[in-house]
Each structure stands twice: as structure tokens, then as C-alpha cells.
Amino acid sequence: MDDIDAMFSDMLQEMDLLTQSLGEEAESAPLPKPPTIPGPQEMNFSVGFTDFNASLHDLEDNDLDALMADLVADISATEEKFATEKDTLKGSAPVAPIPSQPPSNLSFPGSSSTLRQATSSNSIAATPPPPTSKPSKEELEEQIKADKIKLALEKLKEAKVKKLVVKVEIMDGSSKTLMVDERQTVRDVIDNLFEKTHCDCNVDWSVCETNPDLQTERGFEDHENLVEPLSTWTRDTENKVLFHEKKDKYEVFRNPQNFYMWKKDKKSLKDMKEKDKEQLLEENFCGASVIVPDLEGILYLKEDGKKSWKQRYFLLRASGLYYSPKGKTKASRDLVCLVQFDNVNVYYCKEYRIKYKAPTDHCFILKHSQIQKESQYIRYLCCDDEWTMTLWVTGIRIAKYGKQLYDNYKAAVRKAAGSATWASRSIQASSSASTPSPTPKARAANGHAPQPAVETKGSSNQTSFPPPPASMETLPPPPPDPMLPPPPPAPPSTNKVNQFPPPPQFPQSSFPPPPMDDLPPPPPPPPEDSELPPDFLPPPPPIFSSCGGEALPPPPPDPIASLPPPPALQNFASAGGAPPPPPPPPPPPAPAPAASKPAGSVRKVAPPPPKRTTPQLAAPSVG
């Protein structure tokens, strides 16, 4: 028991540390940082603000709530932990302590160290799963204990999820502030921003970072995590996060011919049939390996440490960026590798003619994402014109990310289509919001098998939509069931009515509607949100009721005061008496409004006709 006691006092110290750091966070004081840790390990709690107070001030109410809930969750998780600890102690008392590996001993040292990480670093240490079975007689008891430990560990994990408050500049000069946690992808953040900005949600919207020192800009890819790159910014950075439309983000998927057949005259490619474009995409992105556009040509390379730019003949390959040295052929064996893409990102540059005496202003650089200032480890390249630059930057992105890029695009298209659906449907909703929700019967009458509403709807919000009244023919059909085949062909006029305006760059015909069944599962329906308009999704993380957060007050002036006092053992025992419910679930993933679409837009694209395999074609002219 001695070592358990020692352990426990250790835990209390940890707790102390945590509460202190939480208090400091709330006061926007920088986190205590070990003086010797170099830059990359520093953690900024907010991005785009001079101090944390400002960032809090900027947060919208619901974000603030969410942030508070998070902070409270952190605290409660700690409380919880000690409660469990207490339990564990009690639980293990009657059992003869197994000297080699008592369960409490087993898991907590590890977890306390992860706690420390929560405040000082961004890495997640794997928390050991608790032992699931023990050969002892009190197996049941052990099991309960193990479960509790597991629960506590999960909460700890939750508590150490790193979050950033990020100020995002929007095109019109305004800005939005939002909280991003390290599990969120850029896609999640974009979706979040869609809700805040009420923009048109087309696929070109992207989150970018700018670096005024290097005069660079890079659009984050949708699958990247936002927190990780932002955490490597220096504390005094002037870098910004922007949210705007970038035409080149997915241009390669709209007009693949311009990239994959770049050698051809662009005019002749202009009228390429959609079918042929799809085939190009299929050939290059859906095979065993992604094919990188066969770019080659003269670019200017800034020489190491010099001011001069030299022309070189560059070639892009899946394995990296190469150039052919002087006097050599461009045969593969003679190529020199300038850089491989595993560790670098590609950035657009601004006004390098002035900054670096570049031949043109169409420059891009390749660098490790952590490098923030001019350095010999950056590769500077310059193109003759803007299109060439787009070509190369896109090519490099394809080489680096491969099929992921295409997946991102498809997800973005689904999202865009979904938002458009939402837009059209919210109009409907406001016009006849009082009609009762569709009953399974009515839906069955339309050729659908009855299905529980929850399953078929993106979220419970949808239940407030007007159901199709008795006369089906005159009104748009109900959203087709994702699991069911599309309803029998409706009269064309019906289709028209229901067809929402497609996003600007996407002629309806060019994209097959996304398959309905591979959408992410809908988030669990929030219990009382159903009257909210759909674009309020996703709801902020549910408020944590049992931790004094019933109606969350604005941040208390002195958070420390509101925190549970640190190391009083009895205190925790009492806290442990009634274990609080689980912490808020992670913010729901991207809402899946696209889960249902008006029937009119579900247009099955017939498989392309087989290639010309007609006998006429094969018929050799004998003669």
C-alpha cells in the first residue's frame, strides 16, 4: 500500500500543476515553458491575437461556451480521475494487493505523465488499456475497477486534446474567431466556417496560411490537421490564417486535361467532353498508383545563398522534383534530384521580383513547414507565367498527396452539394414549417419502404421539414432514402422544381451525384435542437451540466477560485461519491446534410458506353 500512497501524493501534485496551468491559460498568461525548450515546442494558445484576453473577447458566445465547457471538462476530468483513484484505493483494499502489478499502480503513472504533456507538449502518448481480466476471485470487482480506470483514462485523453483559438481573416477584411482542436481536419474547420460566414460553400473555399516574412501563402489541404502546423509558428509571428476562395485548389479535377495534357493547345482542350474528363481522372487517380502530370520545362532556380537565379530544365516525377544538369540528356539516369516531397510543402510567393530579384513574380518555394524565415534550406523557384506556376504547384501537390487530394475533392463536392440542398430546403422549411413530419406510411406510399426517421435523416433537425402532403405529384418528392434505390422516375416538372441551383463552377452534368451511402454517419441528434435552422449545425459540444455548468456564466474573473481546491483528500473523496457523467463527446464531425437530396438531383450517370469495339472498327480491310 505504501507505493500506492506515494503514487497518490504524486497524483495530487500533478493535479496541482494542472489547475495552476488551467488558471494561467484562462488568464492568457503564457504556459509555463521549460526555458530550454526551443521554438517548435512552444505552445501558443491562440493564433492571430496579441494576447489571450483579446482572443476570448473575440469568440462568439457559443464558442465561448464551448471553450468554457472544455476547460470545465478538463477540470472535471481531473476530479473524475481522483474519484476513480479513490475508488481504486477502496476497491483494492480488501483484495490482497498483488505486489507485482496492482492495477492502480499499472495505469496511473503513465497517465500522470500524459497529463503533464497535456499542458506542455502536443504529443499524445498512448494510454495503456487497462487489463481486462484478472485471475483473481474478485474478478467482477476488478472489472468494475478496470472500467473506471478506463473511463478516467479516456477523460484524461480528452482533457489533453490540444485546442487553439484561431482568428481567421475573411476576404472582406472581417474576421472570425473559432476554436480548433487537434483532432479536427481542415475540412472540419472549413465546414465550421461555412456556418459562421454563410458563404456559398463551394469547393474553392480554403483555409490558407500566410507568412509575411517569406511573403508566402499556402492553402491547407482538407485532410491536414490545422493545429499541428499552427503550433509550430513562433510566438511573435505575424502569420495569418485566411479563409477565401482559391480557384486553383481543385482546378485539376474540374479540368484535368489542362494539367494532364498541358502540352496541347489549351484552346483545343477547352471543349473537352465531361465523359473524357472523367476518364482522365479515372486513369490518373484511380489506378494502382496515382499518375503525376508529366511536367517538364525551364524554371529559374535561386542558387544557394546567392542572389542570382539560374535557368534549369526541370522534370516532375512521382518521386520528386528533378532537373537535368548542363550538357546531359533528360534521360532518367542523368537527372539530379532537387528535392523529394516527403518533408516539404509547396508555397506560393508574392512579389519576389523585389524581394529576391526574381525574373518574374510567379514564384513558389519548397520548404519544411516549420521553417518560418529565410534559410538556405528553402528551395526558391520561379516560373515564366502564372499558369506555369499553377501547373507546377498543382503537380507537386499531386505528387505529394496522391489520391488523398482526389478524395478531398470528392468530399468537398458532396459538401457543396449538400449545402445547396440545405439552402433550398431551409426555404421550404420556413414556408411551411408547421406541417407534421412525414410518417413512414406516407413515405411508403411513395415507393419507399418505411424506415425509422432517425436512420434516414441527416439529423433530427430534418424532422421539422414539411412532409410531402397527400398529393405527391404536385410537390417535390421527399428526400430519397440513402439506403434505398431512388424513387420511381418523377415527372420532369417535379424534377425541375426540386433542382437546386448548382454551385457556380459546377455544371450539374459534370458531376455524378455523390453516392449516397458512403457519407459519414450523421452526428447523434442533439435532444432539443430541432427547432434550430439547419445551418446552425453542428451544435457546440453539449454543456457539461453536472460540473456546475448548468447555465454557463461568462468566464469567471478568477478561474482559480472556481476550481476545486487542490490537494484536500476528503474533497476528492466526496467528488468521487457521484461520478460525473462522461465528458462532452468530441465535437461532432462534419454534419452530413448531404445524406438526403432531392430526387431531382439524383441523376444516375449511365456507365459510359463501351469503347469502340464494334466489328466495324476491328474489321481489317482485306485488300
Binding site: 530550454t36 521554438g39 495505469s107 516525377r317 481489317p620 482485306v622
Partner: protein, 641 residues
């Protein structure tokens, strides 16, 4: 009707026996002729595989109900009663030669289908047969008679799906010997000796590459018609570079042979790659060779699949539990600590290495003045996540340095760590490599990483004996690269470079590694191009036509540049004029091209184009049945109609 004598030779009577004379009338059908011959030969055996071969016309008489009259056979015809299936020496992509019975009477396409069925290779339409290169017997070196694996006793492939036993076709499971043969087909061969590569290697220009394609057999005619004789040697190769529906479970042999073909194409520089790519290929070959030795041959039958997944599931569980237990047992995350020397090169400073007490925890290195002060604040901490790690090692000089390039806001910080000895080096090096990928010491791959570093060090220590093939751990790195790089680098120089590439693939499973190899191969710019030297209509000089699965390209022979690309989806029709041996193709937008073929018969070009069109129709129809008729329609030429 008047009876007349027909002479039929029977192979079973011996080569010198005179042909049998049988009396026939013109309305006797072929089946009747065979019956008469068999009766007259007085040999009792199974004649079911025999058929009549008409020597002068070089054709089989395979329709038993046709009369002699209908076949156009008169008294001057010399017929031969011979088995339709004869032994053939088949050289597989892996370099293994099998002796097996192949069908000499059906079109090569069907013959290959049969062979593939026997060998358990799915999608036989992607493969075909070609003549071997004529071997110049200059030196008359008594080549040790090549190893031959005789499986002629295998039953003829019937139309039934091969029964699987123990994950292999039933025939192979019969005896231990045949089982060993099958395993040889399904497991990649050990790395060849560098000399073998050098001997096979010929610096290939595009014209020579084009000559390879002149050796393909005609898919629509039979082996015997094309002059293949019993016991001749033919190569079985993947001809169409579009590999449909590869599934590692069902395609053990197919995947292995495909890998072997790709590997040899790279070793012999039939397809070009850069130095960086060559190092990755070498690392993958090394890894595949190593894993093949240890990883058990995975059987592929449905029941085994279930078992497999169940086992895997169990394994994961065990792993999860044991690692948790380990963690719990040790109470803390694993760490490394040692006295090491550090050196940070800076401009204009020539400070040497200084010794400190180093600890490695998670992904971070910290160092202290001494062991005693390790509880205090470290002098410096370095997080290695995202850094570049390179070895700087000389086993002979007992120098074991790790070069780290750690990214920071200002650029990359260069740091050298010097270890005392091999063991220390391999542990710290492994830790650095894992940390650079964001993994900690607790990661399960740590110990295997340590091992692979040690085995590479061992490779540097011993001067590899010249003929060493890959045995347990040691390997001559020259066996992994093409002769160009054998000449350019010594094995000692190659080793660290391959090791560098190896760190990214060391954790792959066998099939993943093979698929990775194939992926990189397929991403090479020249992948999947088959070359033919042609003369375009109205041009005076030879040019090269490259045929790929989705396009035709026209290449300037002297410069090697691509002049023009035509995609199949813009193709309206193509025609072959068999008399003047010219291929004419019409594309959308009234683009017409015509060319005659210089290095290959225009049937080969015709077959390539038609074949690729055929391959592209496969993805749409989900059924597994092969539409042989369509293939012949697209590739057949005038005989087919």
C-alpha cells in the same frame, strides 16, 4: 465413290517408321480417318488427345465431322496423327523454367489461358508467350544445365475452376516436390548475383527495346502453326500493362511473377528510373527478399482467409494486451540514456565533439552536463519530430555518427551525435528514425528497426563474396541495383543510401512491399510503353511508336522526344492492310495516320491496340468469364473472319 490411299504418320510408331496407308473415300469424315489409323497402328493407348495435323498446309484438322472433301484433302496430303498437348519449357518472369504440357492446337490465347489455370494465375489475358532471345553461343561455356522443374504429369487443365487444396491447385498439393514447385512460383526468388545481372544486361536504346516486341507469338494461331516444337523454350510474360483487379489473397503467383517481371525490368534497365528511385527499388527488393525468407507462404483458400483474419484479430488483441502489460510492467515509457558526443557545425567555428549525458524520451533528446545532473534542467532539448536523419558511419574507422537536420523556424539545425560503438549507435539511430516520424520508443517497430540497422552495419563490415546470393541477413547490395549503379558505387557506398530508403519501407508486410514496388514501378513516366519501330506514311526516316494502355505516342528516334500523343478515346477506327502491311488509324477531328511496321509484324501492333481496347472493356463487366470471342474480334486480323 472411289477409294484412294491416304498416308498418315503416327508419332507413336517412331520417327523412322513409314507412314501408314489407309484406304479412304472423299466423304469419310476426319473422325473416321482417325479411327482407321488407330486400328491400323495396333497400339492400345488413350488416343483422346490426338488430332490430325496437315503438314503442307500447316494446319490442324480439328473438326471430326468434316469430310476429307470438305477439308480439301487429296491423296497427296501428308497427315500426321499427333497429341494436341506437348511438353514445353516455359521460362517464367522469375527466371524459373518449368517443363509442362501446353496445348499446341488451340490459339495461343487459349493456350496461355490453360497454362495460367495450371499455374493458378488469374487474368490470363494480360499474359502471352514470346520467343526467347537467340543466345549467342560464343564461349561455349558449358552452362550448367539449367534447372528444370518438370510438372508435365499435371492433368490437362479442364474447364473446371481448379480445385484448391492447401491454398494451391490440387495437383501441386499431391507430392512434396510439386508443393515445393508451387511455393517457388508464389514466393519471389532470392536476389541474383551481380554477375547474373551483368550478364543479362545490355545497354538498351529504344530500338533494341522495340526488338523485344517482335518476338511475341500470334495470339490467334496455334503453337504448332507458328513453328513451336516439342520441348522448345518460350517465355511467359505480362504483355498488357493493365493489371485488373489484383487481390493479394487470390493472386499469390500472379503478384509474385508480376513483381519479378518488374524487378528484372528495373535491374536490366528495360525501364529507366532515377538514382533516387533505384535506391527505393533496391530497398524494397532487400526487404521483400528478407521477408520472403521468414514469412510463411500464405495459402489462399476461402476457409484460410477466415482463419487468417481470425488469427490477425487475435494477434492484434494479444499485441494490445502484451504491450499494455509491458508498459505497465516497466511503469514508465521506455527511455534511452548514455554518454554521447555532440557536434553542432556552425559557420567559422571548428569546435569538436563534446561529451554530455543524453536521454531520449518520447520523440525528444535532452542532454545534461553529466549523469548526476540529469534531474536538473537539461542544457538543451531537441524534438526530432519531422527531422531528417542520416547515417555518417564508417565501420572500418569505428565512426558511428548520426546526422540530424532538425527543422526550426530559422531553418534546419544540423546536429551530429557520435556514438561509441555499434550497439549504442543502432539503438540511438533507431530511436531517431522513429522520432522523425513522430513515433516513440514505445512503438512496436523499435526492435526491428534496431535489427535492420545492425544488419546493414554487418553488410558494411564484411566484404561480400562475389557470388553471394541473399542468404539470411547478408547480401551484396550490388545484387539490388542495375549494372550502371554497380559501376558507379561500391557496395559500401550503396549500403547507406539503400538504408536511407529502407527506413521508409522496413515495416511493410510482404504483400504490401510487393505492391509498393509495383506502385512505384507503375508511376515511372515510361511505364507500360511497348515500342515498335515504324515508318509513317510519307516520312523518310524511321520513328518509334509507343503503345500504352490509353494512348499511342510518336517518338523521334534520334532525340527520344515524344512528338505526338493520341489517346484511344479519340480513336474512331483502325484498319490493317495486310497486303502492304500498313496500319491506318483515324482519330476524332479528321486526324488520319498510317504507318508500316519495321521491327515487328503489323499483326503485333494490331494485337497490341486491339488488346488494350479489350482490356479496357473488362472493368465494366463484372463477370469473371473471359470474353474470348471479343478478344479475337479485336485482335484477330483476317484469319479470324
Amino acid at each position: 465413290m472411289a477409294a484412294w490411299d491416304l498416308s498418315v504418320s503416327v508419332e507413336e510408331l517412331g520417327p523412322d517408321a513409314p507412314p501408314l496407308k489407309i484406304s479412304v473415300t472423299s466423304d469419310l469424315h476426319i473422325g473416321g480417318v482417325i479411327l482407321k489409323v488407330v486400328e491400323k497402328s495396333q497400339i492400345k493407348q488413350d488416343w483422346s488427345d490426338h488430332a490430325l495435323w496437315w503438314e503442307q498446309k500447316q494446319q490442324w484438322l480439328l473438326k471430326p465431322s468434316w469430310t476429307l472433301d470438305k477439308c480439301g484433302i487429296h491423296a497427296d496430303a501428308r497427315l500426321c496423327l499427333t497429341p494436341q498437348h506437348k511438353p514445353l519449357r516455359l521460362l517464367l518472369p522469375s527466371g524459373v523454367t518449368l517443363r509442362l504440357r501446353a496445348c499446341f492446337s488451340s490459339p495461343v490465347f487459349r493456350c496461355v489461358t490453360g497454362l495460367c489455370k495450371l499455374l493458378n494465375i488469374r487474368r490470363p489475358e494480360e499474359l502471352s508467350l514470346l520467343w526467347p532471345v537467340e543466345e549467342k553461343k560464343k564461349k561455349k561455356d558449358k552452362d550448367v544445365e539449367e534447372e528444370l522443374y518438370d510438372i508435365t504429369r499435371a492433368p490437362l487443365p479442364s474447364s473446371i475452376i481448379p480445385k484448391l487444396a492447401n491454398g494451391m491447385p490440387a495437383f501441386f498439393a499431391e507430392t512434396p516436390e510439386t508443393e515445393a514447385v508451387y511455393k517457388m512460383l508464389a514466393v519471389s526468388q532470392p536476389a541474383p548475383a551481380p554477375e547474373t545481372i551483368a550478364k543479362l544486361y545490355r545497354s538498351t536504346n529504344i530500338t533494341e527495346k522495340a526488338h523485344i516486341n517482335s518476338r511475341w507469338l500470334d495470339s490467334s494461331r496455334s503453337l504448332l502453326q507458328q513453328g513451336v516444337k516439342e520441348n522448345d523454350k518460350l517465355l511467359l510474360r505480362f504483355k498488357y500493362y493493365t493489371f485488373h483487379d489484383i487481390s493479394p489473397q487470390a493472386d499469390a503467383v500472379r503478384l509474385t511473377q508480376l513483381y519479378e517481371q518488374a524487378r528484372w525490368a528495373i535491374l536490366l534497365e528495360e525501364i529507366e528510373c532515377t538514382e533516387e528511385e533505384m535506391m527505393v527499388f533496391a530497398a524494397l527488393q532487400y526487404h521483400i527478399g528478407k521477408v520472403s525468407l521468414t514469412e510463411q507462404f500464405v495459402a489462399s483458400c476461402p476457409a484460410m482467409d477466415d482463419l487468417d483474419s481470425a488469427l490477425q484479430c487475435l494477434e492484434v488483441k494479444m499485441e494490445g494486451e502484451s504491450s499494455a502489460d509491458d508498459m505497465l510492467e516497466t511503469m514508465t515509457a521506455p527511455e534511452l540514456h548514455d554518454y554521447l558526443k555532440i557536434f553542432r557545425p556552425k559557420r567559422l567555428t571548428l569546435k569538436g565533439y563534446k561529451q554530455y549525458w543524453f536521454t531520449f524520451k518520447d520523440t525528444t533528446i535532452s542532454y545534461f552536463k553529466s549523469k548526476e545532473e540529469s534531474c536538473k534542467e537539461p542544457i538543451q532539448q531537441m524534438n526530432l519530430k519531422g527531422c531528417e536523419v542520416a547515417p555518417d558511419v564508417s565501420v572500418a574507422g569505428q565512426k558511428f555518427c548520426i546526422r540530424l537536420l532538425i527543422p526550426g523556424p530559422e531553418g534546419m539545425n544540423e546536429v551530429y551525435l557520435r556514438c561509441e560503438h555499434e550497439q549504442q549507435y543502432s539503438r540511438w539511430m533507431a530511436a531517431c528514425r522513429l522520432a522523425s516520424k513522430g513515433k516513440t520508443l514505445a512503438d512496436s517497430s523499435f526492435s526491428s528497426e534496431v535489427q535492420s540497422i545492425q544488419s546493414f552495419l554487418a553488410m558494411q563490415k564484411t566484404t561480400p563474396s562475389t557470388n553471394a546470393a541473399q542468404t539470411d541477413e547478408s547480401i551484396n547490395t550490388h545484387s539490388l541495383v542495375s549494372p550502371r549503379y554497380q559501376k558507379k558505387y561500391k557496395p559500401k557506398q550503396l549500403t547507406p543510401r539503400i538504408l536511407e530508403a529502407y527506413q521508409n519501407v522496413a515495416q511493410l508486410s510482404l504483400t504490401d512491399a510487393i505492391q509498393k514496388f509495383l506502385q512505384i514501378w507503375q508511376a515511372l513516366p515510361d511505364f507500360g510503353l511497348s515500342y515498335i519501330v515504324v515508318r509513317f506514311k510519307g516520312c523518310r526516316k524511321d520513328e518509334v511508336l509507343g503503345i500504352a494502355n490509353n494512348r499511342l505516342i510518336r517518338i523521334d528516334l534520334s532525340v527520344g522526344d515524344v512528338v505526338k500523343t493520341w489517346r484511344y478515346n479519340t480513336m474512331r477506327q483502325w484498319n490493317v492492310n495486310w497486303d502492304i502491311k500498313q496500319v491506318a488509324i483515324e482519330f476524332d477531328g479528321n486526324v488520319n495516320i498510317a504507318f508500316s511496321c519495321v521491327t515487328a509484324d503489323c499483326k503485333i501492333v494490331h494485337e497490341y491496340i486491339g488488346g488494350y481496347i479489350f482490356m479496357s472493356t473488362r472493368s465494366r463487366e463484372q463477370s469473371n468469364t473471359l470474353n474470348e470471342e471479343l478478344f479475337h474480334k479485336l485482335t484477330g486480323g483476317h484469319e479470324a473472319l
